[in-house]
Structure formats: C-alpha cells, structure tokens
C-alpha cells in the first residue's frame, strides 16, 4: 500500500519538475523567432538553453521509465491508447534536439532559417500535445473491458484543447521570463515584453481551465472531500498573479521563480485531483487505472525506492551546481568566444 502512494507522489514530482524545467526550454524555443532578430541574437537564445536542455529532457525519460517500472499497466495502456499524439510528440522532440545541434553547423542563412522554423514548430507541438494529453488524462480516457474507444479526433476535444492552450501559454510566459533573466540588451527587453504580453491570455485561459474542469472532470471531488487541499490550486493562482506583480516591479528572477512555482502547482493540482487514479476511465470507474491496481509488485517498488533515495539527491545536487555555473546571462561575446557553442 505505502509504496504505491510513494510512487504516485514520485511519479507526480517527476512530471512536475519536467514541465517546470523543459517548460522554459519549450517556451524559449517558441519565442526565439520573435525576441531575437539577428543571427547572433538567435544564437544567444539557443546558447542560454545549450547547457541545460538535454539534462532537462531526461526528466521526461525518467518519468516515462518510472511509469514503466512502477505502473506498467498504466504505461502500456497510456502509450498504446494515445499512439498517434505521442508519436507526434516524439517526432517533435527529435526535431527539437537536432535543431539545436544542427543550426550552427552550416554557415548559410537559409539553412539556419530552416532550423529556426523547425525549432518554433517542434517547441510549440510538444507544449500543446502534453497539455492535450494531460487534459485527457484529467478528463479520463474512454476505456472499459473491451479496451479503448477513443481516437486522435476524440483526444482533441474542447477540454483537451483548453489544457493544451494552458500549457502553451504557461511555457511561453515561463520561457520569456527565463530569457529575460539569461540575456542582455534588446533580447532581454523583448523577452520581458513577450512574457508580459502572454501573461494576460494566460490568466484568461487559466480561469477558463479552472472553471471548465468542474463540469469536464472529477478532479474537484478530492478537493471537495478534503477542502484543506484547496490550498494547492489557490497557491497556483497566487503564483500566477505573483508573476505579474514581480514583472511590474521589474524583478525578473522572482518572476521566473513564480512561473516555475505556477507550473509545479498546476501539475500538483491535477494529480491531487486525480489521486489515486493515474488515468481514470471516463466510461466506468471500475476500469480506471490507479496507483493500486496498475502498480508493480511491492518488491519492485521497494527496490526502486532504494534507487530513488540514493540517486535523486545526487542528481539534484549536480543539477544545482550546473545551474550555478551557468547562472550568468549569455552575451554576444560569450557565443563568439566558444567555438563549440551552438
């Protein structure tokens, strides 16, 4: 019993941290074409991401691996039922990764232009598809004894799309704030404007999402049963408002911290509402995949807990070290100085 709850929490933490970390990479990727105009400016943008994007993406690989190891039935059904959206997500992540690496390798404006466009699309699509996927998980998938009754079209339902839009805007604001902190000069100014501009639609979509969640999902059931839990969505809203407060005051690092917290708390709101479900069935709760009915054996969970207890602190320690090493904003000169830079 206990291990299943621990792994539900760890599973949630992995997704939350992944979205908070890759969120600003995806957001910066979406903004690159807009906040950076010249080639050197565009290089600055992707070089702010260079030292961290790969390490951030590993949180996704780990979230996937942990779903496989701790909740194999959920992993199996989630990935096979959502075959097409996940395939598109996979293709986007592949293109994004090579876009960073390939862009600077040929000194031709057309070549660079292709990869700038590719980066835009391959950053937008994962943001949207992750949102759509999680929107559908919140809502529940149409599954019962006979299997899955959905399709790509049914996944693109209004609630899924609202969640998709929420993720896109969250990441745009998050990415804009990251670039505000990590760049200087014109790119910084434009990034601040982009984050401010995107914040208003984000607020509207967040309100719509919170309201729409009531009729579209059962997420609020847990909150109504334990009203104390309402602190989680409340804090999410406060952090969202905090972003604007700090932006107005020109405090960029606190604003970025607030957007990180917003993402963590949005995911927390979702999983608190889901518990103990990992993927509810929208047809019959009997066929919902829960932390209890889809988990690995207690022995496997125990072994995995041991691994997590030893290695997670080590990972967190060296990740913090890396973010400290690369804490300074990236300037044009930095990019020109390092021949291995993107």
């Amino acid at each position: 019993m206990e291990f299943q709850v621990i792994w539900f929490v760890l599973w949630s933490v992995l997704w939350a941290v992944y979205f908070a970390l890759d969120g600003f990479v995806l957001g910066s990727g979406m903004l690159q074409n807009f906040v950076a105009r010249s080639d050197i400016e565009r290089r600055v943008v992707i070089n702010t991401l260079g030292p961290v994007w790969d390490g951030n993406e590993v949180w996704l690989i780990t979230a996937g691996g942990v779903t496989f190891a701790a909740f194999p039935t959920t992993y199996a059904l989630m990935f096979s039922y959502l075959y097409t959206p996940l395939l598109l997500l996979l293709f986007s992540l592949i293109v994004r990764g090579v876009a960073f690496e390939f862009r600077g390798k040929v000194d031709d404006p057309r070549w660079k232009n292709i990869w700038d466009r590719a980066l835009l699309v391959s950053s937008f699509l994962p943001a949207l598809l992750f949102g759509v996927t999680f929107g559908n998980i919140f809502k529940g998938l149409p599954m019962d004894a006979a299997g899955y009754h959905g399709s790509l079209v049914s996944v693109l339902n209004p609630y899924g799309l609202v969640t998709g839009l929420l993720f896109v805007l969250l990441f745009v604001v998050h990415g804009g704030l990251y670039l505000s902190v990590k760049t200087t000069g014109a790119v910084k100014t434009r990034s601040v404007s982009a984050a401010s501009a995107a914040w208003i639609p984000l607020l509207i979509v967040a309100v719509v999402f919170l309201a729409y969640t009531y009729p579209a999902t059962h997420l609020y059931d847990n909150f109504l049963a334990h009203p104390g839990l309402l602190a989680v969505p409340l804090l999410a809203v406060l952090s969202l408002l905090g972003i604007k407060v700090f932006l107005v005051k020109g405090k960029l690092l606190p604003a970025f911290t607030a957007s990180s917290l917003t993402i963590l708390l949005v995911v927390a709101t979702g999983v608190v509402g889901l518990f103990p479900n990992l993927i509810p069935s929208s047809l019959d709760p009997l066929y919902s995949l829960t932390a209890f009915n889809s988990s690995s054996s207690p022995y496997t969970l125990k072994v995995m807990t041991g691994v997590a207890v030893i290695f997670l602190p080590i990972i967190i320690a060296y990740k913090i070290w890396v973010y400290r090493v690369f804490r300074a904003p990236v300037t044009n000169q930095d990019v020109l100085d390092n021949k291995q830079a993107y």
């Binding site: 030292p51 690989i61 496989f68 090579v98 390939f102 390798k105 690995s296 496997t300 060296y318 930095d334």
Partner: protein, 449 residues
C-alpha cells in the same frame, strides 16, 4: 503484413538506426576523454586540438543518439503494450535505473563540457568528459541487463498474470547481460577506433596536419587492437553461454540441423531451411564447434530438428549475420595489428594503399555491430522473452494497421532525412580538419586555472 510484422519492422528499423550512433558515442567518448586528460597532464596543445576536433564529430553523432533513444522508450508502450504490461515489473526497473544513474549524468555533463570551456577550471572540464564517458558506458550496461533479461530471464516468478521480480541481484548480475555488455562495449570501441583511423588516414594521404593525425592514428590503433581482441574473447565466452541458455539460437547461428557430438564447423556452408539441411558443407574442421561452444572436443550440441518448427528462429539471416560478423572481426584484427605496427615504426606514409583501405573500412565495424544484433535479436525469435512469451503475444491490442503504417512511414522519412544530414555534417567537419587557432581558447582557459 499485419500489425505484428509491421511493428517488428518498425522496432528493428528504429533500433538499428539508433544503433548507428550509439557505438561511436560509447567509444569516441572514451577516446576524447583520454585526449583531454592527456592535455591536462602534459599541457601539450596538440591534445587540446585533438579534443576539440574529435569532440566536434563526437557531438554531431551524440545529438542523434540522444534523440533517437527517446523512441526506444516510447515504443515499448506504443506497439508492445501486452509485453510491457506483462514484464514491466522486472523489465522496467533497469530502464528506470538507467535513466536515474546514467542518463542524467551523461546529459547534464555533456552540457557542462560543451559550454563550460571558459566557465570552469581545466581539471573540472576534463572531469566532465570523463563523467560523460563513464555514464554513457554505464547506461549501456543497464540497457543490456534489460535486454539480457529478455534473452535469459532470471530472478522472477510468474504471478498475477505477469512476470514479477523476486530477486533484483539476479537481474543485476545476469551473466547474459554482463557478457553482452562486455562484448558490445569492446565492439563499440572497434567502431570508434576505425572511425578515427579512417579519418586520420584520409588526412595523412593528403599530408594535412601530419603530426596531429599521426598522434590520433597511434592512439586509435592501439585502442582498436585491444578492443578487437577483447571483442573476440568476450564473443567466444558469450557464445558458450548462449549454447547453454538459448540452444536454438546457437543451432541457427551454425545452421546445425541434427544433434551431435564432436561437431565440426565447415568454412563454406549454406542452410536450406525448407528441407532442414544445408545446400553444401565444404572444408570441415572436425570438432571445432564443440570446442568453441562447449570447450570440449566431444561436447554435444543440439540441432534445430530438436526444436518444434514454430520455436526455431529464422535460420538464414541469423546464420549469415553470424558468419559476416566473425569474418569482419577477423579482418579488423588484422587491420588493427598492421595499424599498430606501421604507426609504431612511423611507416604509414610508405603504404598509401593501406591508408586508403582504412578510409573505406570506416563503415564496416558499424555493419559488424548491426550483424551482431541481428544474431542476438532474430536468434531470440519467436520469443520476445525467451521461453516465456512469444513476440506475437506482446503486441498492443488497441493499435490499428493504419496507425502502424503511418508511424512506420513517418519514421522512415524523418530518420532518412536525419541520417543524410548527419553523414553530410560528419563528412564536412571530418574533411575540414582541426582548427589551427586555439589561442583564444587557451587564453580564456588559462584565466580560470
């Protein structure tokens, strides 16, 4: 074609494509780390320039290895849901542990290495690439332990309608996984060695940067010779273990139809699967197979006829791949030996034909690695988990033919494009040669020391 065959084809293609990049990453990370450590020890700029040049090629290759690796994790769930559900309890653990112990380390420190030239001390920078090399190789171990479990399942019970782990140590110390690891790592190093040898040879033929490429050549030649010898030794030990745990695979590797003692190997032979015999068997070496596979002259080896027809792997591709792998391995031993001797006595320029040959050898170790995996994976058929679960039972129930056709076309187009770009970029930067100007870099690096 049905959903199962198309999913198998897709898995094979995406895995083989991923495995174009992995062996070079495994081996070149070790070589580049060695170069940078040498630079740290000697302060000789030549090693810094080597680190930079080979490091650039390493990174182009690395990027594709990373992104095509995500596909592997997605595909188990997407196409092989019944397999994932059935074995996730025991097969998922090594994958999750791989991500936690190795992939994080590798991905974080590759970023530090690429972008940290002017940010951290020279020592910390060299440590970063060493950590990348270590983590990359450790990552291989966990993946091969997962694969080893599919080949030779251990440490489990069948309970609650699935395979549940009961002994983590048995999974961790599965001899099949460790032998695969040892054989794979050394074979991957052969790929990297011949990659460096071939490119160095190309430049030596043109008299570009001769000191630079002779030093690179020497290092790679020794690395290649040691690796190819280890690859052969570990391959032999692995084959003995396969004979014990997967007798049908061994029989297919040798196209042996009848169970016998003191089994010969014939140097020229071709299997005729339909008639359960060989078209011809020429130049027989008596007892050789028994000696190799059982380490005893009169050891008994099971023939294919001892297995029901629906439990035999496809004989022809397994047999041919095995032969080609061995043949290529022998060729590499000879070439690596010559490379060591000729570079040791500085005779390379006297044998331009040898250098030319090395340029054309670059793709061959890649092929040998792929052949090895054809033996391992097709030789495991019809099982997805040897003796426990058939491949056809592992397929996702919910996916349609249209979905798999669509994804397969998508993969072929996307991977085809990426593969072409990768080869173009590797050739471009390999031909360009090392940067002559590292002064700006040295200055900034010294500032921090």
């Amino acid at each position: 074609m049905d959903v199962v065959s198309l999913s198998r084809l897709q898995f094979a293609l995406t895995c083989a494509f991923h495995f174009i990049f992995v062996p070079l990453t495994l081996g070149l990370s070790v070589l580049v780390a060695t170069m940078e450590v040498k630079y740290g020890r000697t302060g000789n700029e030549l090693y810094l320039r080597m680190t930079k040049f080979w490091g650039k090629l390493f990174l182009i290759n690395f990027a594709l290895g990373v992104v095509t690796g995500i596909t592997m994790e997605f595909q188990f769930g997407m196409n092989w849901a019944e397999y994932s559900r059935y074995v996730g309890d025991i097969f998922g653990a090594p994958l999750a542990i791989e991500a936690t112990t190795s992939f994080f380390l590798e991905s974080v420190f590759i970023g530090v290495w690429v972008f940290g030239w002017n940010k951290i001390s020279r020592k910390a920078h060299a440590v970063s690439i060493c950590l990348v090399a270590f983590a990359t190789n450790l990552s291989g171990l966990w993946i091969l332990l997962a694969n080893g479990w599919m080949q030779h399942p251990v440490g489990y019970v069948l309970r609650n309608g699935r395979a549940e782990m009961v002994d983590f140590l048995a999974v961790t110390f599965n001899p099949n996984g460790w032998l695969k690891f040892a054989h794979q790592i050394s074979s991957a190093y052969v790929v990297a060695a011949f990659f460096v040898l071939g490119i160095s040879a190309w430049h030596l033929l043109r008299k570009n940067e001769t000191t630079f490429f002779k030093t690179s050549f020497k290092m790679a030649a020794l690395f290649g010779l040691v690796s190819v010898v280890l690859s052969g030794l570990t391959g032999d030990i692995h084959a003995v273990e396969v004979g014990k745990t997967q007798p049908a695979k061994l029989a297919a590797m040798e196209a042996l139809w009848d169970t016998q003692n003191t089994v010969w190997i014939s140097l020229l032979q071709l299997p005729d699967t339909d008639n359960e015999r060989n078209y011809f068997e020429y130049i027989k070496v008596p007892g050789l197979l028994s000696i190799l596979a059982t380490h005893s002259l009169n050891g008994e080896i099971k023939g294919l006829k001892d297995f029901p027809k629906d439990e035999r792997p496809p004989v022809m591709p397994v047999f041919l791949s095995f032969r080609l792998m061995i043949g290529l391995g022998m060729l590499f031993s000879l070439l690596a030996f010559l490379a060591v001797v000729l570079s040791r006595y500085d005779l390379l320029e006297r044998y331009p034909l040898f250098l030319k040959l090395l340029v054309f050898t670059i793709p061959l170790p890649y092929l040998a690695n792929q052949f090895g995996w054809i033996v391992a994976e097709m030789g495991r058929q019809p099982w997805i988990v040897y003796g426990i679960m058939k491949t056809s039972d592992g397929i996702s129930k919910s996916i349609t033919l249209g979905q798999v056709v669509g994804s397969l076309i998508g993969f072929v187009l996307l991977y085809g494009l990426l593969g072409a770009i990768d080869i173009y970029l590797l050739m471009k930067f390999a031909r360009k040669g090392p940067d002559s100007d590292v002064s700006s870099l040295i200055n900034t690096a010294k500032r921090k020391v």
